[in-house]
Amino acid sequence: MEILMAFVIGILFMTATYLMLSKSLLRIIIGTGLLSHGAHLLILTMGGLKRGTVPLLGEHAEHYTDPLPQALILTAIVISFGVTAFFLVLAYRSYQELGTDNVEDMKGSEQND
């Protein structure tokens, strides 16, 4: 199962990298979203995958999964939700202001400041 997850995470990172290297701002944002998905899955995998139980079943439970990675993922998801939302607003504003969503045109130079 961990091996499979490793492949999934790898593919997510690969796709994210590909998208982030493109010129369109929207693709870059989707890329960052996928990147954080990959990171979240990685936390889950690193905590060790167990199936068929829930995090906490009282003090005398025989099986339980590690609750900490789940708590971390929840936090990380909320944060990446906020950041992605902010990035979207920023991209929209800069599209209005600069008239382009092509990062190639956003290079800073002395002339177009």
Partner: protein
């Protein structure tokens, strides 16, 4: 009082929340913001006294005991940084009143400002690795907003780059934490350190070296060390002066703090490889920073490249890892936060007066603004480390530590860099303040009295800090002592 060490986080947080409700009333916002930053300063001062008297303070949030819950830890290192942060916040706040503009003030400048302080103070205080990530994000979210506030084209453009770099580094942070968690199974920093020392009894395993490098990349991106500084000159160029001062003085230093903390607490077992790399990168940062500072003819860019130099100097002190160099690094870190804030505020005044940051387009400001000129002169001397100003003591200790550690070439480069740093800032002084008074003919001179208060405070503090260094040294060496002996930290947190 149990909760003393959370006050520098709690007060700005509460203020930020209250100020959102008052966004239309500028005067009320200003008064509350000033009061709260004074409150933070007082609280931070008491924390320093408390830590000095009773040793490291820790607070288990929600009454969950140390390795399980989130712990806040205040040792002397973090207490000093929190105190410096509150001073800088206060000074930048006063400066903002006259320079940031009503539009921004109405558009949640003060709340976001406070949230930034929450993030910075939190990152300095937390004793939990994941919580460090959370406070990093609080700080970064606020910095995104502050960077884009005002909405000029250059700000929007640079914000996108800054945001993208930081999103990637945050993802790497999460990945590094996940790897570390899979190796040691805990997130409490003291507990991690304890587990790592158990694992590395026969030398540090390879996976930990990989994790150490990942942390170096993550924090290096925030702290702008040698290969990872590429985003900084562009992004820091965009925001207005008080925001720039906050960023330059605080944000990169949070990265430096995190590197120092993780490397001295976690990865000190096998110093051959990790600290060697840190040392090489820090020296390269100094070289690159100096080259940038010498090459540019733009006031802002010169000071921004000087941040990279300072980061290099501090991390070099950390990488040598002996008592003298650590003391020097802590001393220099505090010095650099103060003087960078002062310099950026001065540069802000320069830009208000001349309307440009290009050094070739103005000169001879000395005639009309002697106060500004001499403040800048003293700040420049302090930055370069001319005795008796504050940069001197720190650099002296770092270089001394470097010679003790037998790395003569690197210590020599640190020494040489002071000279070139001095040259780069004197370039501003000579070209901008001396010479023909060419910019102001027939134009109205904008009054800068009020704005000048803040940098003068910073420069005065810097001078005081340098001249009375024997007053501060007991505190500084206590901080360095904790860094050199992770056992103290572990004992104080886990209460064994």
């Amino acid at each position: 009082m149990t909760n003393l060490i959370i006050l520098p986080i709690l007060i700005p947080l509460l203020t930020g929340a209250v100020l959102i409700c008052l966004n239309k009333r500028i005067m009320a916002q200003r008064v509350i913001a000033v009061l709260s930053s004074i409150g933070t300063m007082i609280a931070a001062f008491f924390i320093i006294q408390k830590v000095h008297r009773d040793g490291i303070q820790s607070l288990n949030m929600g009454s969950w005991d140390a390795p399980f819950g989130i712990t806040l830890v205040s040792d002397m290192f973090s207490a000093l940084l929190v105190f410096t942060t509150s001073i800088i916040a206060f000074v930048c706040l006063i400066y903002s009143f006259k320079s940031i503009g009503e539009e921004s003030e109405k558009y949640y400048y003060y709340p976001v400002f406070n949230f930034l302080i929450v993030g910075v103070n939190g990152a300095f205080t937390t004793g939990d690795l994941f919580n460090l990530f959370v406070f990093f994000e609080v700080m970064l979210m606020s910095s995104y907003v502050l960077l884009v506030l005002g909405g000029t084209k250059i700000q929007l453009r640079e914000s996108i780059k800054y945001l993208l770099v930081n999103i990637i580094s945050s993802a790497l942070f999460v990945i590094a934490v996940a790897y570390l968690y899979s190796v040691v199974g805990t997130l409490n920093m003291a507990h991690i350190s304890e587990r790592i020392s158990k694992i590395s009894e026969n030398g540090m395993p390879g996976i930990l070296t990989v994790i150490a490098m990942m942390f170096l990349i993550v924090f290096g991106l925030k702290g702008a060390i040698f290969p990872l500084f590429f985003w900084m000159p562009g992004s820091y160029f965009a925001p207005p002066a008080p925001v720039l001062a906050l960023f330059g003085a605080l944000l990169t230093k949070v990265g430096v703090y995190s590197i120092t903390r993780t490397y001295t607490l976690f990865f000190y077992h096998d110093i051959d490889f990790t600290f060697q790399i840190l040392s090489i990168l820090s020296v390269l940062s100094i070289v690159v920073g100096v080259i940038g500072a010498l090459a540019y003819w733009d006031v802002k860019k010169i000071i921004i490249y000087n941040i990279i130099v300072a980061v290099g100097v501090i991390l070099y002190g950390v990488s040598v890892l002996n008592p003298n160099s650590l003391t020097g690094a802590v001393y220099y870190l505090v010095h650099d936060m103060i003087i960078k804030a002062g310099l950026f505020l001065l540069v802000g005044i320069l830009i208000i007066i001349t309307g440009t940051s290009n050094l070739k387009q103005f000169s001879g400001l000395m005639r009309h603004y002697p106060g500004l000129a001499w403040t800048f002169f003293i700040a420049a001397l302090a930055l370069a480390g001319i005795p008796p100003l504050s940069g001197f003591v720190g650099k002296l200790l770092i270089v001394q530590g470097g010679f003790e550690g037998k790395s003569y070439i690197s210590a020599g480069i640190v020494l040489l860099s002071s000279l070139l740093v001095l040259f780069s800032v004197m370039k501003i002084f000579i070209n901008g303040f001396w010479g023909q008074d060419q910019t102001l003919h027939g134009e109205e001179k904008p009054p800068v009295k009020w704005l000048l208060i803040s940098p003068v405070i910073m420069v005065a503090i810097s001078a005081f800090y340098g001249v009375n260094s024997e007053v501060f040294l007991p505190y500084i060496s206590q901080a360095a002592d904790t860094l050199a002996n992770p056992d103290h930290y572990i004992k104080a947190v886990l209460k064994e």
